[in-house]
């Protein structure tokens, strides 16, 4: 009887299908979804899609677009810094009036105000559009429903809006690049008075207005996404998926969403005050001020107030960037090493501790802004305490791969590279977190080197690890491994070649955000080092082109995914069909019986989360 009944249902190919049929539970999804009217045509499938997997791909591809723009900008200002005497006339067709060509000598120079615009836009684009939306937008969307066992996000409609607000933010920012007065040029932190007075510099006029508009849209996008991520993790987990069975990716995305939800509104409050100062004549941030010998009407504002509001977001923001990368790396390392993650609970508590501490350290960005030195002590202590959960995580990643049967795929290499970058960049954070050392180091290339390694390169490495690892889930094909390895080694060596020397520049006192250094005798002997950094930056960018070609080429010609679970991983996304339908599982949603890291348990290579516990077997996650 039983076998006869099974034969009449859908054909069963895998043991996992049997398990889902037997233990999974029915949420009557497919009954409502015959014909799938939400994905009936091109527009509802590819453009205004409400499917979290399509939205993830939209975030990723938009993120790649912005990463290329942001990267190209850095090349232009690196050329200026490395070769201030060389002609940039060949850039005139692209940059137009921002390159002034001397009619007699043919020498093309980059306009100094556009140099500042490039630096500002590079920071804004990479921090917000690439490493926030491109990273957490992509992987939270892709993995949260798949790994907690949900059909989709709690509100697919808000999820779609989240992407389109991001798109709108990008469109507005892109438009600002073409203004005659140029995009905003006062630094990505947008400190007043440069950001508050439209007459302060050319970028402070229309460029700043569009910057504010763009980032307000962006915050709306982040909040809509974050509300969905939190609700989905807490409310839509499948049967048996308690919090201690969640993969570390989900823990990371969950805490990231909480940080975003609590900190981005504070940034918006700063924006509101700024907009009032700019347009309605209020004096929240503007003190008695003279522009061109003319006294302005503003009285009694405090520019430091903006810095407090900005960094109350700004510091959690760096964890919004790094936590998803940490989650991805934990999962990729465990799967690649064929070993359970070492210290799962310690990892979760570290994520929570980092999340909590990130809210009480913001003023370490303001040690030199005139905050009370006694208050600084408080921030120094909590900043240095962050080293503790960070070190716990590093220790656990290393012990996870220690003695493992490591498969060095591109994803695994990038995950290991992440750990390397995180250690290098994290150590210099201990220097900078100290308010006494910060007197020497603040606003120098030491700071630039620190944050680029720890949250720029490291977060990119986490993102690359995730893209290589979950590419088959997104596109049904693998990326090319040889190109992946060229990409990895080029980027690892190149990124160190760029940022390692910058530490020396910074210790020697070379200030950041300067247009050129060759007029300063003190810094003249660094010109060779600056040339070296620029050449390394060009090579690293070339390596990223290898990635971009690999990414888009593999969508059509990559090696096809032929099995459901190519890596032998335990998490739920590998129990879905190869071509994942809307709703993720064609029949029942699988129920979960164990944590996500049963590798090598009882002599078995891996045990999927949907396999029930054997009699007398304990769940290792608890």
């Amino acid at each position: 009887m039983a076998t006869a009944a099974k034969q009449t249902t859908a054909p069963v190919q895998h043991d996992e299908d049997l398990l889902i049929q037997e233990y999974g539970y029915d949420d009557h999804f497919h009954e409502h979804h015959e014909g799938d009217k939400y994905q009936s045509n091109f527009i509802s499938t590819y453009i205004f899609s409400q499917d979290h997997k399509m939205i993830a791909r939209q975030f990723l591809i938009t993120g790649i677009f912005w990463a290329i723009i942001g990267g190209l900008m850095s090349l232009v200002f690196r050329l200026q810094l490395g070769f201030p005497e060389e002609s940039l006339a060949w850039l005139k067709p692209f940059l137009g009036k921002w390159i002034t060509v001397n009619a007699e000598t043919g020498m093309g120079t980059l306009a100094p105000e556009f140099y500042y615009a490039l630096v500002t836009m590079h920071g804004t684009i990479i921090v917000f559009f690439v490493l926030t939306a491109g990273l957490s937008g992509t992987f939270s969307n892709l993995l949260i429903p798949l790994q907690v066992g949900a059909r989709d996000m709690a509100s697919p409609f808000l999820n779609m809006l989240s992407y389109w607000f991001f798109f709108l933010a990008g469109a507005v920012m892109f438009f600002s690049l073409f203004l005659s007065t140029g995009p905003f040029a006062g630094g990505w932190t947008a400190y007043p008075p440069l950001s508050a007075l439209p007459q302060a510099s050319s970028g402070s006029a229309g460029g700043m207005t569009l910057w504010l508009l763009s980032l307000t849209f962006f915050v709306i996008s982040v909040l809509l996404g974050g509300i969905n991520y939190i609700t989905t993790v807490l409310n839509l987990r499948t049967k048996g998926m308690n919090m201690w069975r969640l993969p570390l990716t989900i823990w990371a995305f969950f805490v990231t969403a909480i940080l975003a939800l609590l900190s981005f509104p504070v940034l918006v409050s700063g924006f509101f005050l700024l907009i009032f100062d700019r347009t309605l004549g209020t004096s929240f941030f503007l003190n008695e001020i003279f522009v061109g010998g003319q006294a302005l009407d503003h009285v009694g504002g405090s520019p430091i107030l903006f810095q407090h509001l900005f960094w109350f977001l700004g510091h959690p923001e760096v964890y919004i960037i790094i936590l998803p990368a940490m989650g991805i790396v934990s999962e990729v390392l465990s799967v690649s090493a064929r070993k359970p993650i070492f210290g799962y609970k310690a990892m979760v508590f570290s994520i929570l501790a980092i999340g909590f501490l990130s809210f009480i350290v913001w003023a370490h960005h303001m040690f030199m802004s005139g905050v009370n030195p006694f208050i600084s002590n408080f921030f120094v202590v909590f900043t240095l305490i962050i080293a503790v959960p960070s070190a716990v995580k590093v220790f656990n990643w290393i012990t996870t791969i220690y003695g493992g049967n490591m498969r060095y795929t591109s994803a695994a290499l990038f995950a290991v590279g992440f750990v390397s970058m995180f250690i290098s960049g994290g150590l210099t954070g201990i220097f900078l977190g100290n308010s006494a050392i910060d007197i020497q180091m603040h606003d120098t290339y030491f700071v630039v080197a620190h944050f680029h390694i720890v949250m720029g390169v490291a977060a990119f490495f986490g993102m690359f690890a995730g893209v290589y690892h979950w590419y088959p889930k997104m596109f049904g094909r693998f990326m090319n491994e040889t190109m992946g390895k060229i990409h990895f080694w080029g980027t690892l060596i190149g990124a160190y070649a760029i940022f390692w020397p910058m530490h020396y520049l910074g210790m020697a006192g070379v200030p950041r955000r300067y247009y050129r250094f060759d007029n300063f005798d003190t810094f003249s002997h660094f010109s060779a080092m600056n040339q070296f950094i620029t050449i390394a930056a060009i090579l690293v960018f070339a390596c990223q082109l290898v990635f971009v070609i690999n990414f888009f080429r593999s969508i059509w010609v990559g090696k096809k995914l032929t099995e459901k679970n190519p890596y032998g991983a335990n998490t739920l996304e590998w129990t879905t069909p190869i071509e994942v339908p809307h709703g993720n599982w064609p029949g029942k949603i699988p129920a979960v019986h164990r944590w996500a890291y049963d590798y090598g348990k009882g002599g078995q290579d891996h045990i999927s989360q949907i396999v029930p516990l054997a009699e007398g077997e304990g769940d290792s996650g608890h």
Binding site: Y25, D26, D27, H28, F29, H32, H33, Y38, Q50, A150, R151, D152, M153, A154, S155, P156, F157, L158, L223, G226, I227, N228, I230, T231, T232, L234, N235, L236, R237, T238, K239, L261, L262, S263, F264, P265, V266, V268, S269, G270, F272, L273, F276, L280, G281, T282, S283, F284, D297, V299, G300, G301, S302, L305, H308, L309, F312, G583
Partner: protein, 196 residues
């Protein structure tokens, strides 16, 4: 049919709160952070001195009564909706809407009276903060009024039926409306305490 209904969890013990209701609470937490940032900025700026002190308009206090009564009428409307008293449900919903509009109008009059005693938006930050914070709060109330309009359209155009789906929708409006009411209570309490 909305796509979202298909994703409701069917697992026992986890469906005590509807995901959309929960999402709204999360959104409220986010709005709370927004206003606490503004009020913190207020405290920091006040501590720096050069702070003009003035008497808050009486209308702010009268208006508090208006918004609290509107919370009561909406709650009553929701109870009547669940109990099947159609007329009371519709009437109280309309009353809430009127009170919401009244709140916005009275806030506008309160700003006018502030301007009347010389406290201008672009003057000393003490006044600018009151205008900005109460203004942004009014914008949130306006969002609530928009939600009430949707609820009224549902109440008058759809056949009366207290389905689970409509209960959830109504509960969302109710939660948000209570939220903006209590938010005003907090803000006015904050203004009063810091001015004293």
């Amino acid at each position: 049919m909305n796509a979202a209904v298909n994703f409701e969890p069917q697992v026992e013990g986890r469906s005590r709160i509807h995901p959309h209701q929960f999402a709204l609470w999360v959104a409220c937490a986010s709005i709370v952070m927004f206003f606490s940032a503004l009020t913190s900025a207020y405290i920091v700026r006040q501590g720096a001195g050069n702070w003009l002190e003035f008497r808050l308009p009486d209308l702010f206090y009268i208006n508090t009564v208006v918004i609290l009564v509107s919370s009561v009428t909406l709650q009553a409307s929701y109870l009547n909706f669940k109990k099947g008293r159609k007329e009371a449900y519709r009437g109280l919903l309309l009353a809430t809407f009127m009170l919401g509009i009244a709140f916005l109008v009275l806030q506008y009059m309160a700003w006018q009276s502030m301007a009347g005693i010389g406290v201008m938006l672009d003057g000393n930050p003490s006044g600018s903060f009151i205008y900005l914070i109460s203004g942004v709060h009014a914008a949130h109330v306006l969002g609530g009024v928009a939600a009430l309009v949707m609820a009224i359209i549902h109440a008058f155009s759809l056949p009366y039926k207290a389905t689970q789906r409509r209960k959830v929708r109504f509960a969302l409006v109710l939660t948000y409306w209570h939220f903006v009411g209590f938010l005003w209570l907090y803000l006015l309490g904050f203004f009063t305490v810091t001015a004293a």
